[in-house]
């Protein structure tokens, strides 16, 4: 710990290493900062705002902010809880998320966040946007209805697959994930084994013909809420 420092998260002092983000330092100490667009192995994106914490009183995305000595971070407080709930609810109303028949149910990070935050129904009106599906690829199914614009697929394709299959197109409410071809995924060099396919936190990019292979009761979040694994390490 030659170059170590300490920071404070919710009145708890933890040690941190230079170069770590606030989210990484917290996780190493067994503190779960909720996140959606963050994924280990990918360049931090700061896209979803679910991980926003107050750092010395100012809102910052924990996944992109490097630690500095003596930082005071507010993460698990009633007002941050409420703030995140609203962001997650907005993600739900912005797309067409029908958990009841989505094959990602039980393994979906967005759904798991909603359960963790006790969201029964969003307080905002559903937007019901008209979105398309792309079933052209023989092994990959894209359902834009469920896309949360987290950019995980974009980063994974670029940084891990070295392919650049996906890219954002459009602006504002018209922003969506486009593919590196005229229109269809089948015309790109996407492959079902790509890290980009695995990276999707929701049911927007799916391996075809997998469906509901994992029975209810054996899915990722059937028994413990999202983040419980990180918190369990702290207790151990």
């Amino acid at each position: 710990m030659a170059d170590g420092m300490t920071i404070t998260i919710d009145d708890r002092t933890i040690s941190a290493q230079p170069g770590q983000t606030v989210l990484e330092a917290a996780q190493a100490a067994g503190i779960y900062i909720p996140r959606l667009c963050h994924r280990e192995g990918l360049t931090p994106g700061g896209a979803c705002r679910v991980c926003v914490v107050l750092v010395n009183g100012r809102p910052q995305s924990a996944c992109t902010l490097p630690v500095t000595p003596g930082m005071v971070v507010e993460n698990d407080s009633p007002r941050m809880h409420e703030h995140r709930k609203r962001i997650i609810e907005m993600l739900f109303v912005e797309g067409n998320h029908f958990c009841m028949f989505c094959e990602k149910s039980g393994n979906c990070e967005l759904q798991a966040l909603a359960y963790r935050f006790g969201i029964a129904a969003p307080r905002y009106p559903y937007q019901f946007p008209r979105r398309s599906v792309d079933a052209s690829h023989p092994d990959i199914f894209i359902d834009h209805n469920r896309c949360v614009l987290c950019a995980r697929c974009i980063r994974a394709s670029r940084d891990l697959d070295g392919k650049n299959v996906f890219q954002f197109v459009g602006r504002g409410v018209h922003k969506r994930v486009g593919v590196n071809a005229r229109a269809r995924l089948v015309d790109t060099d996407a492959d079902v084994s790509d890290a980009a396919v695995e990276a999707c936190p929701v049911g927007a990019i799916l391996k075809k013909r997998v469906g509901y292979a994992v029975p209810v009761g054996m899915r990722l979040y059937d028994h413990a809420p999202i983040g419980a694994d990180i918190e369990a390490e702290a207790k151990a």
Binding site: A135, R209, Y212, P215, G217
Partner: protein, 481 residues
């Protein structure tokens, strides 16, 4: 066109059926019934909005049609998708797990209908005060029956949970098989209840039988009419609610067709659209729309099958057939008796399956040559259920046609309503008891109106606005000229 000086009697909502329906009875100037109709006013649209969805999603998606017998839709769609992936020859474990799921659902659905929806009519009489003629009244006066109803439903739901993952809207059946088997612990959990459930099933059958036999003279004509009957039967003619060929018989028992491969159902069954209902009217093609309507469900199944392959239900079937000297029974109210024969049959099957070691097998999936079109058929608690899909090269559903059980019984329910109206309403004062007889007749068919109105964009809708004297004030049409 509605003539002036006619009276219109509207019964809305029809209670103690699943979903919402509306009945109108049109009287002529002499006060006789001119017309009686069961209107279906709900509107769903599943056939349209599953277009574009990947085929493996369909069994989980379409079961959302209903919260009462979602397993029927789950399995009918799965059977169609089995053929899409070329896996229609299921592994023994997959077929038995699915059958167990289906029998569990039959058990809970039939128990729910008998104990909670229809028993108030049978126990208290059609003319009893509606304030006690309901499930709360049953609970107060016949506490043990109300409790049995709840516990039997629970047992069926536990079977569904164990085979499908959830009590409602599970994911167990996947194209080509199932996603889980039944563990020893799960099996033992169910086995503990088997004897009690069998005993209660026998008791329920006895109530239904005794009621029907005691009231036979009154019931023989109550909402009754002759009709054809349709159901799946096994290759050897046995009752089989999971798989088989289509058999249709006339009211006298003559076979219209037999052991028809249901992939060819369109050659045998057609659907007629009538502008006043969201629900279509299916009929047997060779007989035409006027003579070709048919009944489905418990009564039709017991009428069409040659025998039942479980001993207690078979003995009960023989007793039932003896009432009509072996000929098909066309009494609407006989549905209740046959429903309880099936309840006992389902329970006997559940018992036998739970002792079958194949339930613990690990070979869950079959696969073969990919197809682009398939039909899945199953006998749902309320009758024959048709699911027909076309899937494109990209694995997306491009066409879906569903003929649900209650839709098959559309014309029969209208006929039952007409018959009751003819016998009890014409020229008489309208009493609660009379009105309830219309509902009792409909309820015999255990209609599930929510899932029967799943079509979209094809159904013409006409709304007539009438004043209290029955004069037509305004009319509006949608979807057709």
């Amino acid at each position: 066109m509605v003539a002036s000086n006619t009276r219109r009697v509207v019964i809305e909502p029809v209670t103690r059926v699943e979903g919402h329906g509306k009945v109108t009875i049109q009287l002529d100037e002499a006060g006789k019934v001119a017309q009686a109709r069961l209107h279906i006013v709900e509107f769903r649209g599943f056939e349209r909005f599953i277009q574009g969805r990947p085929y493996w999603e369909v069994p989980v998606l379409v079961q959302r049609l209903c919260g009462i017998c979602p397993v029927s839709h789950h399995l009918a769609a799965a059977k169609a998708m089995d053929r899409i992936v070329g896996g229609e020859k299921l592994t023994p474990t997959a077929e038995k797990v699915r059958r167990l799921m289906h029998y569990g659902q039959f058990f809970q659905s039939h128990a729910l209908h008998f104990f909670h929806l229809c028993s108030p009519d049978l126990l208290f009489g059609f003319d009893a005060d509606p304030a006690i003629r309901n499930v709360i009244g049953v609970a107060a006066k016949h506490r043990e029956l109300a409790v049995q109803g709840v516990m039997m439903r629970k047992f069926g739901q536990e079977i569904i949970r164990i085979t499908a993952g959830k009590k409602i809207h599970g994911t167990g059946a996947v194209p080509g098989g199932v996603n889980k088997n039944v563990s020893i612990a799960e099996r033992d959990e169910l086995l503990r209840e088997v004897d009690q459930m069998l005993a209660w099933s026998r008791g329920a059958l006895k109530i239904a039988k005794d009621y029907t036999v005691e009231h036979l003279e009154e019931l023989r004509d109550f909402g009754s009419f002759t009709s054809n009957h349709l159901s799946l039967v096994r290759d050897d003619g046995a009752l089989d609610i999971y798989h088989g060929g289509l058999r249709a018989i006339t009211a006298d028992g003559e076979k219209i067709f037999d052991h028809v491969d249901y992939q060819e159902y369109l050659n045998y069954i057609m659907e007629e659209v009538r502008p006043w209902s969201y629900m279509k009217f299916p009929f047997i093609r060779s007989l035409g729309p006027a003579a070709g309507s048919y009944r489905v469900g418990p009564l039709a199944r017991i009428n069409t099958c040659d025998f039942i392959d479980t001993p207690e239900a078979e003995a009960a079937r023989r007793e039932f057939m003896a009432v009509t000297a072996g000929k098909p029974n066309n009494i609407s109210m006989a549905y209740h008796w046959t429903r309880m024969i099936e309840l006992l049959h389902a329970m006997e099957k559940i018992r036998d399956l739970l002792h079958d070691a194949d339930l613990q097998g690990t070979d869950l999936l079959a696969k073969g040559r990919r197809r682009y079109e398939a039909v899945g058929l199953i006998e749902a608690p309320r009758g024959t259920l048709f699911h027909h899909y076309r899937v494109n090269d990209d694995d997306q559903v491009v066409m879906a046609n569903l003929i649900v059980s209650t839709t098959n019984n559309n014309e029969p329910m209208n006929r039952a309503v007409r018959r009751v109206a003819d016998d009890y309403l014409s020229g008489q004062k309208i009493t609660e008891g009379l009105l309830n007889r219309v509902e009792v007749a409909i309820r015999a068919y255990d209609p599930c109106l929510s899932c029967a109105t799943h079509a979209m964009g094809q159904m013409p809708l006409k709304i007539d606005l009438l004043d209290s004297a029955g004069n037509l004030l305004d009319t509006r049409s949608k979807g057709t000229a």
